[in-house]
């Protein structure tokens, strides 16, 4: 279980306990987080699950691999250094407390 918090650009905060193993795109949708779409169901085809990882958590979420890195160049809102595709972030105890910022296109 990991407590995940999504912060939207208009200042809303949504927190939820996410079951280990679930990806954070699906968790966002299950918890009504706006602007995380997940059109491809998490198969790295769409880049519609873009989030910014809170700077404090960057070490814990780890490195972005080459493929995700390339897909990140196709997001609606321009990527930053802390961008991730949330379907590639998997809930685990290490991510308990993680804060994600949701870009609004």
């Amino acid at each position: 279980m990991a407590k995940i918090t999504w912060k939207t650009e208009d200042g809303k905060e949504i927190s939820a306990d996410v079951k280990d193993g679930l990806n954070l795109m699906e968790a966002a949708i299950a918890n009504d987080v706006p602007d995380v779409d997940g059109d491809c169901g998490g198969c790295l085809s769409c880049a519609t699950c873009h989030v910014f990882v809170d700077e404090a958590w960057l070490e814990r979420t780890g490195e972005v691999d080459d493929i995700e890195d390339t897909m990140l160049e196709m997001t609606d809102v321009e990527r930053r250094d802390n961008s991730r595709l949330s379907c590639q972030l998997i809930a685990s105890p290490e991510l308990d407390g993680l804060v994600l910022h949701v870009p609004a296109p």
Binding site: D10, E26, I29, A30, D32, P34, D35, D37, D39, C40, G41, C43, L44, S45, C46, T48, D66, I67, T70, M71, E73, M74, A104
Partner: protein
Amino acid sequence: MPKPIVIVGAGQAAASFVSRHKALANKGIGNNEPLILIGEEPVPPYQRPPLSKAYMSGDLERDRLFIRPTQWYSEQNITTYFNTRVDSIDPQLRKLKTSDGQTIDYGKLILCTGSSPLSLPTRMGGDLAGVFTLRNIADAEAMAPELVLGRKLLIVGGGYIGLEAAAVARKFGLDVTVIEMAERILQRVAAPQTSDFFRMLHQQHDVDVRESTQLVRLTQKSDGLNSRVDGAELANGEQLEADLVLVGIGGRPNIKLADQSGLDCENGIAVNQICQTSNPDIFSAGDCASFMRNGQRIRLESVQNAADQGDLVARVIAGEAVTYDPLPWFWSDQYDCKLQIAGLNMGYTQTVIRPGSKPGGQSVWYYAQDKLLAVDAMNDTMAYALGRKMIGAGLHPSPDLIADPAIDLKTVSKK
């Protein structure tokens, strides 16, 4: 209070429309019109792709099909009527009638009616028990109990849905035969190299792939009361045995409502660059809508198209100056192979093949002369991602560069 926006059809495009409309309204953009979502299926919008993939194979739970949780619609104050069909529209009075006898007024109407699979005519055995098409959850759930070890499945049509179902059925240990009328599977949608790749993949999994093979009719056995499919008669005189049949021969857009209401229809419900039909109060998005691209009126049957058009209509109605100019993408899962497609290969004149960075990977690059149009990437997400990026950026790397495995695509995409 502004008049309601009514969305007809509660699928992928509709879900995208209502999501964007609400997201904009929550930011104070647009007129926050009330939304009424009407869908013929008994359930809220869901993802269809898994129906022939992970849901069919039992690897994805039913709950995870839904695009938004059921309670989301009421939380967002969206009025929903599921299990309800819209039977007629009166564009003059801006009213519509539903199958349960309601008359509903609209300010704006969005037709997201999708498409329906073609079935075989009755005289060819299309109505027999044991013959399926695959579009809805209900279709997938009717077929699921039939996927039993050792049974013989005949798939009519070698398109993506049929081939995906073939892969799932092999996983369950059925004997699978695919018959395709055209010279090769995937002929309508892909180059010969992509067809070759998938033919080989299915043959390696012991699927009997028969191309240039025409069906005369499905045959039946009868025990007096019930008659059920038991095989097929082919144009070459051969008889095939089958315990069940999946017909995957393409679809047609659901345009009946639009047509009856006098909207222009041509290869679908004709829309302009902002997904508006010939009636300015009526928009259309998704599988049912046809739009101009390179001088042709085309339709796309994909999640990308439905989601992007639904999203666009919400923005247009909220007053944003946007037009539809998509970079199409698509995917398919068969066995352990993931196919990802970027761009549209329509009008290609040549293809080049690039070996994948990992074994079993390969990509097919489509060109119109020197212009890069599309990429089919098999087990090579990197090629998909870079291809999509290049197409999006209007880059046209020379076919020689692409074909050379020694060249790093990443450097090409930076030019």
